[in-house]
Symmetry: C2
Subunit: 285 residues, 2 copies
């Protein structure tokens, strides 16, 4: 099946038929097995998160234009007839919408920090894995490379500065091993990330210590490792035993971008991609 | 781990920790293996669907109050300051929202019919499986029983009337076998469904032939089998070879409700539930 058959993208939204769906499942199984082998526990977070909680993480300060939020229809104000007409026309005007108190998250790991809010993490640290749908209102879309909705498998470390740094090292070695087994050429590059206050000490910190490294296939990031110092620990009041705010780091694998990279690398041959990735799975097990 | 630990529900949104996440994965693997063993192909549909497409399926006529839609923030009109203030207050007013052209689907299988829009299904019929997040703006929520966002694994048949009826028979036998292996008491009950025009011939059809059967654990539906005649085939212009509109039917498994039923049945012991479900998986393989 060619790269074109089996994938249908329209306005930043993608449908995947049998072969790419299967490859996505295999990739996610590989990421998850590695995470669990590294001691991660699984977490499922809600697909919608409170706006107030994301505001706590500076989401609307850093990227308000990327945000997507969720509303119910204000049927009693707009009237059932207008709602019906707008539905057929394909768009509900603001006057037909209730206020939006829930958001479609732009990153999967926000739900982790919010889940741990006001909790204590034991001194040994915690490793958590989850897969989540991410939503970004980008100003342009580009096949599987840049989507409005895409899945991210993340593995998040909460612990001491050393523990979260170790997680990034393990993640880097796993990415090298996986890419090596598949034969996928990946480049590692330092990147910047607007997780932090752009103004104060955070910006200075970011300039001194790169907080994000991306793994690029032909210029496209298919994974990144990120360190957040105590930013999420402070904002979410997550403490490390009695030692103050926990440090965090995460590695994220963009599922649809991996599909793009593999389809490209294997000349659009899903069977060959599937076979090679399954062989890598066996080798890494 | 008790039923309470490991599950956190707040205002219709649920977070699942390690044990229930693992059980959900196991359940979904059992449903999927059965589907694939029955000849189903996998499909991944977008998590957001165009409002105009759902309007075609009468979604906003049948349940406008249940609908949730997605908007971007109108930063240029509301201004960055107001957006920031509303974010911290936890709610974006309609004046800060763009018109909503995309919806959070209330059922997973809508994406299937829309994916097959304007296509021909071969005479042998097609069986498709997918898992999707469903969103419903219910007027009340109740633990894992009634959520604003929940996952549904569906297996959808598109084909002749006989083929889609056969799918329902196979689904019923699978549900009986699975519940039997687990020891989960399930009752089957005819139910109604507002998929159809409430006015015309559909309503008459529904009164003659029950179009939905639910499988209940202690009064709560954890699965349903549904037949749609040619409703989706007509609305989405899906034809069966050259024989006119395709017939469709589906079986849906509500993942979080299965978790609730199993946690209840096993007295809140996730380990016992996991062990029993894994044993059932082996027996059914």
């Amino acid at each position: 099946m060619s790269i074109k058959t089996g994938v249908r993208v329209s306005e930043g939204l993608v449908a995947l038929e049998d072969e790419p769906t299967r490859l996505a499942e295999t990739l996610d199984r590989i990421f998850t097995r590695w995470a669990k082998g590294s001691g991660a526990v699984s977490l499922t977070v809600p697909p919608l998160l409170p706006v107030a909680d994301l505001a706590l993480l500076d989401v609307y300060r850093n990227f308000p234009q990327l945000a997507l939020v969720s509303s119910a229809l204000n049927v009693s104000v707009a009237g059932i007839e207008q709602v019906g007409q707008e539905a057929v026309a394909g768009e509900f005007g603001p006057g037909s919408l209730h206020a939006a108190g829930l958001a479609l998250p732009s990153s999967a790991c926000y739900g982790v920090y919010l889940h741990y809010r006001n909790r204590q993490v034991p001194l040994g640290g915690e490793l958590v894995t989850l897969v989540g749908q991410c939503f970004r209102n980008e100003d342009h879309f580009d096949g599987l490379r840049r989507l409005k909705a895409f899945r991210m498998r993340e593995v998040v470390a909460l612990g001491t500065p050393d523990q979260v740094t170790d997680h990034l090292g393990r993640s880097a070695r796993f990415l090298d091993a996986l890419a090596g087994e598949i034969g996928l050429p990946l480049e590692r590059r330092a990147a910047s990330d607007p997780f932090y206050d752009q103004s104060g000490e955070r910006a200075a910190f970011q300039q001194i210590v790169p907080v994000k490294h991306e793994y690029l296939y032909r210029g496209m990031a298919i994974a990144s490792v990120n360190t957040h110092n105590t930013f999420f620990g402070e904002r979410c009041s997550i403490s490390l035993s009695s030692h103050g705010p926990v440090s965090t780091s995460c590695v994220g694998f963009g599922i649809e971008r991996w599909l793009h990279a593999l389809a490209d690398h294997f000349g659009g041959d899903w069977d060959q991609a599937q076979g090679t990735v399954e062989k890598a799975e066996t080798s890494l097990a």
